[in-house]
Amino acid sequence: MMTKFLSRNRHTVQRLGFIAITLMAIFTVLPIVGTIVFILVKGGSAISWEFLSGFPSEGMRAGGILPAIIGTLYLTLGTAFFSVPLGIAAAIYLAEYAKDNRLTRLIRLAIINLAGIPSVVYGLFGLGLFVLFLQFGTSILAASLTLSIMTLPVIISTSEEALRAVPQAFRTVSISLGATRWQTISRIILKEALPGILTGVILGLERAAGETAPILFTGAAFFLPRLPHSPFDATMALPYHLFVISTQVPEMPIQIQYGTALVLLVFVLTMNVIATVIRSRARARRQW
C-alpha cells in the first residue's frame, strides 16, 4: 500500500524530499552566515586604532586589547614552531615510508584518537606534563606545546592526503634518475604537495588560535599590564579574553565585548580564507 503510494506519487515525493533536504542545508548554513554578519555589524563600531593598539584599562572596561592580540599571535607561532615540522615529518612517514602493518594501523588509530580528545583534557594534560612535571609554569611555552599536540592530527592527516595525491610516476621517475628516497621526497614530492600541506597547516593553526580550554591552565593570563617578555611568561589571548570579559567581569561595556569577538573572528576567518584560496588555486593549476 505504502509502496504503491510511493511509486504512484514518486515524483511528488521526490520534489517534497528535495525541498526538505534543501531547507535543511539552508538552515545549516544560514546561522553561520548570520553569526558572522551579526558580529561584523555589532563589533564594527568598537574597532579603532586605540582599541587595537592600546592596553586594557579600568579593569578591562576601557582601553584596547593589544596584549590579547599579540598573545594569540605568539601562541599561534609557538604552536606552529612545534607542530608543523613534527606533523609534516609524521605525514611523510605515513605516506612514503610506512608499510601496511600492525604498527602503522596503531599509529593511525592514535592519530584518530588524538583528534577526538576533548580540548579541556588537553588542558589537563598540559598542566600535568608541561606546567607541573617539566616545570615550565603557566607560560607561552607550555600552552604552545599543549596546542601543538592538539593540532598535530589535523596537520598529519591533511598533509598525508596531499602527499598521497602526488602521482606515483613522479617517484618512479625521480628514483630511476638516481635520486635517493629523501632527495625524491624533499625536491619533488614535497614541492608538489606544498599547497595541500599549507592548507592543512593553516586549518590546524586556525583551530589552535581559537581554542580556549587547552590554554586555560597552561598559559592564559586573566590580565597582564605588559606584553610577555619570554616564552616562560604567561600571556593574554583573544579567546580567553573574550571568555573573561563576557562572563567574569561585571558591568562590562557590550561594545568592547563585540569588538573583541570581531577581532578574534577576523583573525580566524582570515586564516580560513587563505587556506581555502590556496587550495582552490592549487587545484585549478594542477596539471596531473
Binding site: 534543501t22 605515513l94 599509529i107 577526538g116 589537563l124 580550554a213 586555560l216
Partner: protein, 298 residues
C-alpha cells in the same frame, strides 16, 4: 660525498620514522598523566561517594553523577539537532546540489567548524539565552537547551564532512543501476546510496557525538552551570553542568595535589576513555566496511 649522502639519508629516515611514531607516544603520555593525577582520587574519595548525586567540592562532596547526566542530556539534545541536519546537508551537498552550489557550501560548513567555540558561547549568552528565556517563558535562558542548540551547530560540520565523504565514495555505478531500473533520484538516495554509505554515516554520527561531548567553552558559558541531576526531559529547560565545564571552571582555583584536583583529573580520565571508545569503535566500523567493500569488488 657518497658516504655523507647515505649518512644524511639514514639520519633523516630515522627522524621521520620517529616523528611517525610520536602520535602513539602522545596518546600514551596523555593517558599516563591523566592516570597519574586522576587515580589518587579513588584513594581519597571512595567509589560510593564518587557516584553520589551531590557535587559540592567546598564541603567535600564529589558526586560526579550530576555532571555525567549533565553531559549526557546536553549531548543528546545536540545529537538530535546535528544528526538530521548534518546528514541532510551531506545528502544535499553530495547528491542534490549543483556543482557551483557545492563549491560554495563546502567552505561554509568548514568555516563553521573553524568558528571558535568561545565566540558561539558569547553569542549564546547575549542572543540565544535571552531569546529562549522570553520565547519559552523560563526563569533563565542559560539552560541545557541553549547548550544543546549551540553544540548541535558545533557538531554539524563534523557530521557533514564525514557523511559526505561516505556518500561520495559510493560507486557511481550503484546510482546508475538504480536509475536504469526506473528509480527516481530520491528513491536512489534513500534505498541505494544511503544504505551503501551506512557505515560511513554511522561513523559521522559517532564522531559528531564525540565532538559534542568533549566541547567545553560553549557549554560552560551557556548552560548555567548548576550541578543538579538531570534525568527528566524537563531538565532540558533548566541549568545543568557538564563534565568538561566543571574541569574548565574549577581547575584554575584548586590547590595542586588536593582531593578536588585529583577528582577533576579523574573526570578528565573518564572523558578521555569515552573519546577513546567512541573513536576506536568509529574507526573499526569504517575499517570493517572497507574490508567488506574490497571483498565485494575483488
Amino acid at each position: 660525498m657518497e658516504k655523507s649522502l647515505s649518512w644524511r639519508e639514514f639520519i633523516i629516515t630515522r627522524l621521520i620514522q620517529t616523528s611517525g611514531y610520536s602520535a602513539i607516544l602522545f596518546v600514551a603520555l596523555i593517558f599516563f598523566f591523566l592516570l597519574r593525577e586522576g587515580l589518587p582520587a579513588l584513594g581519597e574519595v571512595d567509589m560510593f561517594s564518587l557516584l553520589n548525586i551531590r557535587w559540592y567540592p567546598i564541603e567535600n562532596h564529589f558526586g560526579i553523577l550530576p555532571l555525567i547526566t549533565g553531559s549526557l542530556i546536553v549531548t543528546l539534545g545536540a545529537a538530535l539537532i546535528a544528526v538530521p541536519f548534518g546528514i541532510g546537508t551531506a545528502v544535499y551537498i553530495s547528491e542534490i546540489a549543483p556543482r557551483w552550489m557545492r563549491e560554495i557550501l563546502k567552505p561554509f560548513v568548514e568555516l563553521l567548524g573553524g568558528l571558535p567555540s568561545v565566540v558561539l558561547g558569547f553569542l549564546g549568552i547575549l542572543v540565544l539565552a535571552p531569546f529562549l528565556r522570553v520565547f519559552l517563558n523560563l526563569p533563565t535562558g542559560l539552560t541545557a537547551l541553549a547548550g544543546s542548540l549551540l553544540l548541535g551547530g558545533i557538531a554539524v560540520p563534523t557530521v557533514v564532512s564525514v557523511a559526505e565523504d561516505a556518500l561520495d565514495s559510493v560507486p557511481r555505478a550503484y546510482r546508475e543501476g538504480a536509475w536504469a531500473l526506473g528509480a527516481t533520484k530520491w528513491q536512489t538516495i534513500w534505498r541505494v546510496t544511503l544504505p551503501a554509505a551506512k557505515s560511513g554515516v554511522l561513523t559521522a554520527v559517532m564522531l559528531g557525538v564525540g565532538r559534542a561531548i568533549g566541547e567545553t567553552m560553549t557549554v560552560m558559558m551557556v548552560t548555567g552551570n548548576a550541578p543538579v541531576l538531570a534525568v527528566k526531559l524537563g531538565s532540558l529547560f533548566s541549568p545543568v553542568r557538564t563534565m568538561t565545564a566543571t574541569i574548565a571552571a574549577e581547575m584554575g582555583e584548586v590547590a595542586n595535589g588536593s582531593t578536588h584536583y585529583h577528582v577533576l583529573f579523574f573526570i578528565g580520565m573518564v572523558l578521555f576513555i569515552i573519546s577513546l571508545v567512541v573513536n576506536v569503535i568509529a574507526s573499526s566500523v569504517v575499517f570493517r566496511a572497507k574490508k567488506r567493500a574490497e571483498r565485494i569488488l575483488s
